[in-house]
Symmetry: C2
Subunit: 454 residues, 2 copies
Amino acid sequence: MAQPSIPKGTRDFSPEEMAKRNYIFDTIREVFKLYGFRQIETPAMENLSTLMGKYGEEGDKLLFKILNSGDYLKDISDEELTERNINRLATKLSEKGLRYDLTVPFARYVVMHRNEITFPFRRFQIQPVWRADRPQKGRYREFFQCDVDIVGSDSLLNEVEIIQITDEVFNRFGVRVCIKLNNRKILSGIAEIIGESDKIVDITVAIDKLDKIGLEKVNEELASKGIPQKAIDQLQPIILLKGTNEEKLNTLKTVLKDSETGIKGVEELEFILNKLKITRVRSELELDLTLARGLSYYTGAIIEVKALDVEIGSITGGGRYDNLTGIFGLKDVSGIGISFGADRIFDVLNQLDLYPRDSTKGTQILFVNFGDREESYILPLAMKMRQANIAVEIYPESAKMNKQMKYADSNKIPFVAIIGESEMQEDKITLKNMETGEQQLVNLQECINKLNNQ
Amino acid sequence: MAQPSIPKGTRDFSPEEMAKRNYIFDTIREVFKLYGFRQIETPAMENLSTLMGKYGEEGDKLLFKILNSGDYLKDISDEELTERNINRLATKLSEKGLRYDLTVPFARYVVMHRNEITFPFRRFQIQPVWRADRPQKGRYREFFQCDVDIVGSDSLLNEVEIIQITDEVFNRFGVRVCIKLNNRKILSGIAEIIGESDKIVDITVAIDKLDKIGLEKVNEELASKGIPQKAIDQLQPIILLKGTNEEKLNTLKTVLKDSETGIKGVEELEFILNKLKITRVRSELELDLTLARGLSYYTGAIIEVKALDVEIGSITGGGRYDNLTGIFGLKDVSGIGISFGADRIFDVLNQLDLYPRDSTKGTQILFVNFGDREESYILPLAMKMRQANIAVEIYPESAKMNKQMKYADSNKIPFVAIIGESEMQEDKITLKNMETGEQQLVNLQECINKLNNQ
C-alpha cells in the first residue's frame, strides 16, 4: 500500500505547532475584543459568481474550484467538451470555489446582512484561505488570515485605533516592530504636481532603491521610465526626504502646496500621528513614501509592519479603502482594515523564541500505572487535580516503568506521580520532577500547590 | 446586479453566533486539555486517494471534489470525455477533495507521523467537514466536528476517561444528559447464542421498538426478518431486559453464559461502570442494548449521549475500534474515540438558554464622541480601561447623540460614557447604564471598578 501523503502546499499541524498557533490567534483575538471588534465566520465555499473577477485574471486562475455534485456533465454538450475551452467549461463544471481571501467574503457578508448590521461595523475574521499558487518556502496553498476592519465610517479615529491595535498585538508578542505609514493622497499629490499621475508606482519603486543604488542611479531610473527632467528635479526633495516624521511632513507641505489632494494626505497623516502620540504607542512609527502596497485598492492611509529583529517581509499590512461592497451593488461603504500574517508571525516568534512558557504547556502530571488496585486509587486523585485546573494523565496500562517514564519524557510532561503499595498506605504521592530527577513524598494538597505554582 | 448569496447548506456566522460557538468549543477544548489531549489540525483538502473508498459508495458520491488547476483536460481524450463516465472522469478531473470527517484524516496523520508520536496518542481535533448531502433543517454541507481519541492502547481505562470527559463537558454546559452504553461484544454474544450472527442489526432495531409497539409486535417483526421461533424464545429475556445496569448485567451473564465473547463484553461494561462509580460521574449511565451505531466499525464499547430536556437526536457518540490505520497499511492501532456534535449542542444550549452571561459579552462601554477635543481627552482614558481588561469602543465620529445611543443599543453595549465640557473640567465621566437609563458621575477608577464588577 502506498504511503499516504497530503496535497502539496498544505500542512498538518502537530500538537506543538497548534499550541503556538493558538497562542498567536488567542493573543490577536484578545486585543481585537478589547477594541470592540466582533468575530464573524463565512463558509469555506463561496459561489464562484461571488469570487470570479475580484482578484484579476491571475486570481481567477488561482481559485480552487469545486466540481459540481451529481452528473456534472449533464448541461454540457459533446461539442463544448471536445472544444476544450478550459475557462468556459470550468464555469459549467463548477459553481463553487474555495475562499481566496477574507475581504471578498466580508464584502458579500456586509451586503447580505446589511439590515442586521448597525454601522460602523467593527468585525474581525480568522480563517484559512486557499490559493492554487505554486508552493514554495513560506508560501502555502492553505494558510490563515486574521483580518480586522471597520466599515461604514470615514473618521480618521479608525486609522488611529487600527494602529493602536497593531502596536498592542506586537507589544504582547514581545516583537519589536516598525509600523510604516503612508497615504495614497500624498502619492497622488506627488504625481499631480509633477504631472505624471500614471507613473506613481515607477516613482515609489525608484525612490525605494535610494539606499542601495544612490541618488544618481535613482534619477537615471526615473528618466528611463519616461519621467521628464523637470519632474525629476521637482522630485528631488521627495527622494531625499529625511528626518523625523514631523520634518518629513513639513517638507511635504512645502512640496505639495499646490496639490489639494496632497495637502489633504499630509493633514490626515498629521492627525493620525498626533492622536497616536496621546495614546503612547510604543512601536516605531515611520512615514515611508515608498509604501505603495495594493495601491489600486487603497484610498487613504497605507500601513505596513516590519519586524526589527528578524529578516522577513512585512508581517502585517492594510489601509483605507472606498467602496468595499460596490462589487455587490451596495455603494458608499468605505472602511479601513489590516491583516495580520499568521504564518510570518509564527516564523518570527519561532526565530526569537518568544512563546511564554504557559502558552505551550500541556499535561502537567502523569500518574504511573501499577495495575487495577492502583488505578482505582488514582482515579479520584486525578479528578481532584483536574478540579484544581491541573492537566492530568493516567498512563492507561500497567506497562513497564521504563516505558511509562519514556512516555512522560517524549510528551514533555514535567512531573510524574508514583503511587505504589506504600504510598497508598500512607495516603501520599511520590512526586518526581522529570527535569531534575528529584523525588518528594507529598500529600494531594501539597502536590496541587506545587503544580499550580509552576 | 444580483444579490449575492452563499452555497446552499452553508452558513455565515454572525458575531452573536460566533460568541456562542466559541463558548462551546472553548469549553470542550478546556476539558480535553485537562485530560491531557493534544490538538492537531489537518488540511481542508486531502488527496482523493486518501478519501475515496473509506465511506462506502454513498460516501464517495458525497465528497466535494476539487477541479485540478491548470489544464484539467490535458490527460483526458475526446473519447473519454464524450463517453461521460462520470465517476472515472472525476478521478482524472480531480485529485483532491474536501475533508469528509476527522477520522480518516486522523488515521492518515497517525500513519504519516508515526515516528514522531509516542503512543498511546491522545489527540483532539476541532475542524469543519464538508459533505454534498441534500441540505435540510439541521443538516449542513459544512459543519464542525469535535473529535477526541486515544489510540495505541487497549486499556479500558481509556473508555472510563472518555466517559468522564463527556460527563464533564455536559456538566459544564449545564445540560442534563443520559450517557447510553453498549458493547459490540455483547451484541455479538447474543447473535452467537441464538445462531443468527448476521441478524444483529434487525434484532436491535426490533428491540428498540418495544416501548412503542409492545412485545407481541416485536416478536412478529423478528419472525418476519427470518429469525426462527427458538431463537426468538431465547431472546425474550434480552428484549424484556429491565432494571438497573447491575440487574441488566446479571441477566446478561446468565443468558450469555455460553458465549465467551458475550461474557467478555459484560465484563468490560462492568469494569467501566465500576471505575466510573469511583469517579462520581454525574450523568445518568444506561446500558442500552439497542445502541448499535456504526456497528461495522466498533469492536467494544459503544457510547451515545442523549439530552434529557430537549427533543433531539444523539448529541455525542463514539466507541472503541480496532485497526484505525489498517486502510493505510499500519496495523494494530486500536483506539477509542468520541465526537461531540457542535451543531446539535448549539441547538440544545439555545433552546435551554444556557449561555453564561460572560460568554456572549462584547464591548462593555462606548465613549460618546462630541468632537476633536473630546477625542483627544478620551483616547488615554480608553487606553487605561483596556489595560484593565475592559472592552472599549469610542464612537468614531461626532454624530448626533441619538445615533450614537442607537449604536450602543443595537450592539448591546451595556454602558455609555458621556464626556463633554463639564466632565473634562471636573475630570469625571458621566456613566450611563443603558438598561436602566441611570446616570452617574464617576472618576476613571470608579468607572473601571464598576465595569469590572459587572
